[in-house]
Structure formats: C-alpha cells, structure tokens
Symmetry: C2
Subunit: 326 residues, 2 copies
Amino acid sequence: MSDVASEAAVSMMTVSRALRDPASVSSETLRRIREAIERTGYVPNRLAGSLASRRTDIVGMIVPSLRNAQYTETIKGLSDALSGSHYLMIADSGYSLEGEEAAIRAFLAQRVCAVVLHNTMHTARSAAMLRDSGIACVEVGNLVPDPIDMSVGFSNRDAARAMTGYLIGRGYRRIGFISLPAKDNERIVERRAGYLQVLEKAGLEARPDYVRESRSGLIGGAEAFVGLVEEHPDLEAVFVTGDVLAPGAVLAAVRRGWSIPQRIAIGASDDDEIQESVTPALTTLRFPRYEIGRKAAAMLLDRLQGRTLDERVVDLGFRLIERDSA
Amino acid sequence: MSDVASEAAVSMMTVSRALRDPASVSSETLRRIREAIERTGYVPNRLAGSLASRRTDIVGMIVPSLRNAQYTETIKGLSDALSGSHYLMIADSGYSLEGEEAAIRAFLAQRVCAVVLHNTMHTARSAAMLRDSGIACVEVGNLVPDPIDMSVGFSNRDAARAMTGYLIGRGYRRIGFISLPAKDNERIVERRAGYLQVLEKAGLEARPDYVRESRSGLIGGAEAFVGLVEEHPDLEAVFVTGDVLAPGAVLAAVRRGWSIPQRIAIGASDDDEIQESVTPALTTLRFPRYEIGRKAAAMLLDRLQGRTLDERVVDLGFRLIERDSA
DNA sequence: TTGAAAGCGGTACCAG
DNA sequence: CTGGTACCGCTTTCAA
C-alpha cells in the first residue's frame, strides 16, 4: 500500500480512505490513487486491515455434513444473502459435538464476525466459548427456546406430530419410524419424541421395534425401510424422516413391486425435488431451509450493524404437503 | 497473550512457542502456560499470527453452485483431507466467470494459502491475479492441459466420447444430447464436442435440434427430456449429462409409462446413489469426484510444504458403468 | 480533505 | 530453552 501511496503522491492514510470510503477523498486524488493501484497491481491485505480495525467480514458456518443437500440449501440461502458484503467459512462437524467444538475454536481464533450453527446441541465448552466471546451467533434448523444468542428454524417436534397425526387420520394404526441416528442430533430426538407423543395420545402402542435408525443416503433409507417392513409385515405405514431416506424407501419399494400406499404407506420429511419426483410422489413435511439461511443472514446483519432485533427466536414453521404416498 | 505471559511469568515469546511447538519449551514452563491459558480463557488471534508470519492455513474454494451435489462431493473430499491442518473458505460463483473473479479477489485479499477452482475457464484478470500472486492453485474437475498452476480431474471430452460410442455400439442411431447450458462452462462444451465427434466419426448425422440445454435439477432434466423426446419421437437414445438431469429424465419417463430403454434409451453421467437407485438403473459415467478433492488437497499440501510435485496435471479418469437404461 | 503517530496481537530473528 | 526487539500492513485517533 505504501507503493500505491508514493505512486499517487499521497499518504497511506489517503489510500486507505479511498479504498473504504471513496466519497471522503477528492475526485482528483481518487483518480490518481486508482491509477496507482492499477499500475502496481495492489491487492489489499485484509488480515492487516482486520487486525487494525478489529473487525472481519467472515461468517463461520458449521454443518453436520456437507453431503446432505438439506444443509447445503441453508448454506446457499446464507451465502446468497451475505453475498457481496461478507464471506463464508464452512466447517463440517461430521455430526459430532467435538467436531463442532473444534470448528468453533478455529472460527474464534480467526475472529469471524458471526457464527451459524446447524445444530442446537453443543458441548458445554462450545456454548461457553461462544457466550464469552460475545460474538453474534445463530442456531438454525431446530428451534431453540433458549438460544446462545439467536435462533431461526422450526419445531421438529411439532412437525413430527403433524405427520404422525396425519397418518393416523388416514386410518393407519401400525406406524413405524425411520430416521438417522439420534446421537448428538436433537432434530432426530425431537422428531422421535413427537412421533411417540402422538402415538400415545391416540392410544396406539409405541413399539420400540417399530423404530429404526438408518444409514444416510438413498441406499441407507432403502435398506432400513426394506429391513423394517420385512421384519414387521404387519406395519401399515412408516414415517421416514430426514436426508433422502424416504425417496430411497420409495425407490426400493418400486424395485420390489410393493405398491405404495396400498401395501405400505410412507410419510416423509423435507421437500427437495426428489420427494416430488418419485412415483408415487411423497407426502412430506416442507421445511423452509433456504429461507432459514436467508433469515439467519438478515438477523446477523442487523446485529452487526447494531440494530436491535425484534425477536431473538424466529419460527419459520413448516407445511405438510399431501401427495400420493400415504 | 500478554495476560497469559504474565500469569505464567514468562515472556510472550515463550507463550507463542508453547502454542506452536510445545516440544521447544520445557515441560514445567509448558504446564504453567497451559494453566494460564485455561485461567484466562485466552483465544489466540490468528489474524495477528498470520500477519506476522505471512502465512495462513485457509484454503479458498470456488464452486459454480453449492446446490449441486457433484461439487459438494469434491468439497467433502477436500475438506476431509485438509481437516485438522487447514480451513476451508467456500464461495459460490453462480456459474459465472465474473463471480469467480470476485471470489478470487476476495480470497487473495484474505491471503488464503491456496485456491481451488472448480472451473477451468477464467477471465483474463482471474488468471493474471492468480499467476501474479504466485499462490498455490488447483483447477479441479475438467482436466486442463496447461493449468494456471496445477490440475486434477478427468477428460470430459473422452468421457462423452466413451458414452456416445457405447450407445452407438448398442445399436442406437438417432441419439440426442441434453446438458446444462454451455455458457462459461467448459465441462459442457467438452462433452458436447466429444458427443459430436463420435457421431461424425460413426457417419451419423449430428442434428442441432437433437441437442438441448436444460435447467438444473430433477425437474429441469425431466422437462428437457420430455420436451426433446416429444418433439422428436424418432429419437432412439439420449445422452443426458450433468447434475441430476438423467435421474430426472428416468423419473419422468416412469410417470409417463415410457419404457426404458425400449421406447427410449438413456446414457447418463455422474454416479451418485440416485443414478443407481432409479428403475431402471442408469448406465452412466462415474467420475471420481471425492477422490479429486482428496488429491487436490494432497497436491496443495505437498506444494505448501515445499515438496516438488511429480505431476502438475493428474488425470484420475472415469469409468463407464453399464446398467439397464441403455 | 489530508497526514503523522501509535497501535492491533502476534512472529521472525538474533542474542544470551 | 528463553527473551528482546523489530516489524507484518493496515486503521484509529487526533491535528492541521
């Protein structure tokens, strides 16, 4: 930058100003500085800038898995809304609380201006670090009544209640439940709780062997679904929630010639294109993943600009989409 | 850090060493420093560290779209291989060269230690900035004979040749081609060229109206496929390449009761689970996306550690997986 | 509108 | 093995 300054015959201070607030520099000076930048090929050093100003424009986001399209959707919403003003640093926690803690530590060391967590269970240290740092933080996805700082999402429990109730309303009585592993994953814990609550309220038996954890992916969902149904041929419906488990189940049923929903009904969750594109199209819960990302960004931006927030916890809700699988 | 130093009754220099190279500090001193860190809740400032050392441990990656699972797969490979030693900053170029340039500029300002580009077409400025900065850079995905710095991937043209040749070998003569838009996307340009070359070599007519660009996603693929086939009922096969276009085509065919491959055959590309899970399972080109990410990381790491590379361009190849759709 | 001086919080380098 | 002393490259603050 000093090169640019001497090229343009001004002080470094003026160059710095020209870069950050062109209006505060006379147009003639500005022109000379711009030319000098062009000639020297100067690339500002944001490390130095951030160190001096004690501000950065990097938002750190931690997702359980980069492979899961649902998280990607929220990342995309965040990225779009932040685009231009802020940059995104992304870490994959591998569905582990320790992974999340390590990522948080790294983000804080990097002095990110905000952190977005796609998990609302944390180690005690994670929560403490975040609180002590006073950094802006949004927990997205599952709604948290008492967030570290802010939260945007929907109630997984309510959503699971809605789907289970819907299945019961359609006349199904023996209803199974398939999801990813519940360990360290409050979203699954909540959904399973919602499913069990509604079963109980309806006076239906909640059988542990109707509940199954699945590997991820289409093939994981297929295996879990086929396994569960073959072990319990008396099942009438299965609530298959998370990832692309339910589409995997449908595709497997098609291959086996099981008719859906006659032989076995499926209630799904998440509404990517694939839930709609399989035959039969899945009755599913639509979660506003992209919107959650956008809203999280908006809240962060508000906070960083010192505006006061209307709400620290924003419920974006969900919808039950009736299609043909149940 | 000066707090920690006085707490532990050593100099800042010793604290700094204890953090970066614990072995170089006596165990007693180390213990005191660790305690002091614990008590004070000290979080190192990597901005300052990086500024002073002129090194960072952040790798910047630019993908055309965060929504596309194929890119995500490479990100995951990179992230896994870098995990622990480096952090990842991800930018979405929105399939545009200007978007890529802006991201490169931001990364350079951030002084990332390396850049990974999932595109091998660049603006002149992009290439110049990267070259001038002398930063480690890997272009992944499509193989580049003359990379800015390094390249890992496979030949899209050869892959398209292989699939087109395969379709011809199966006896299909009127073969269509569906892909994402070719603009700013050398991967598509290459594949289309490969398709046309083989058609020509086989003495088959290359009809422009057999070639179609599609919106992305399952539904995009479905629309393009149905549209093309309805306009040209005489088509015998379609090479549907990229994204999840081909699975979308199959799913749409299923809904319409078109039998595949009897009514119309499909050759696909990319081999995610979905290509395998649809019925009929897709005959497709398998690209080593995850491995490309890992290899890119390995090459970067080698470079950053000053080791000399065996090869600046690494071809990881592709495979044609025969299944039931053609 | 412009500039000088004093850091930001660490690390490199050399000495002890 | 430990410490002192210059910076790293920019911004803040205050003055002109």
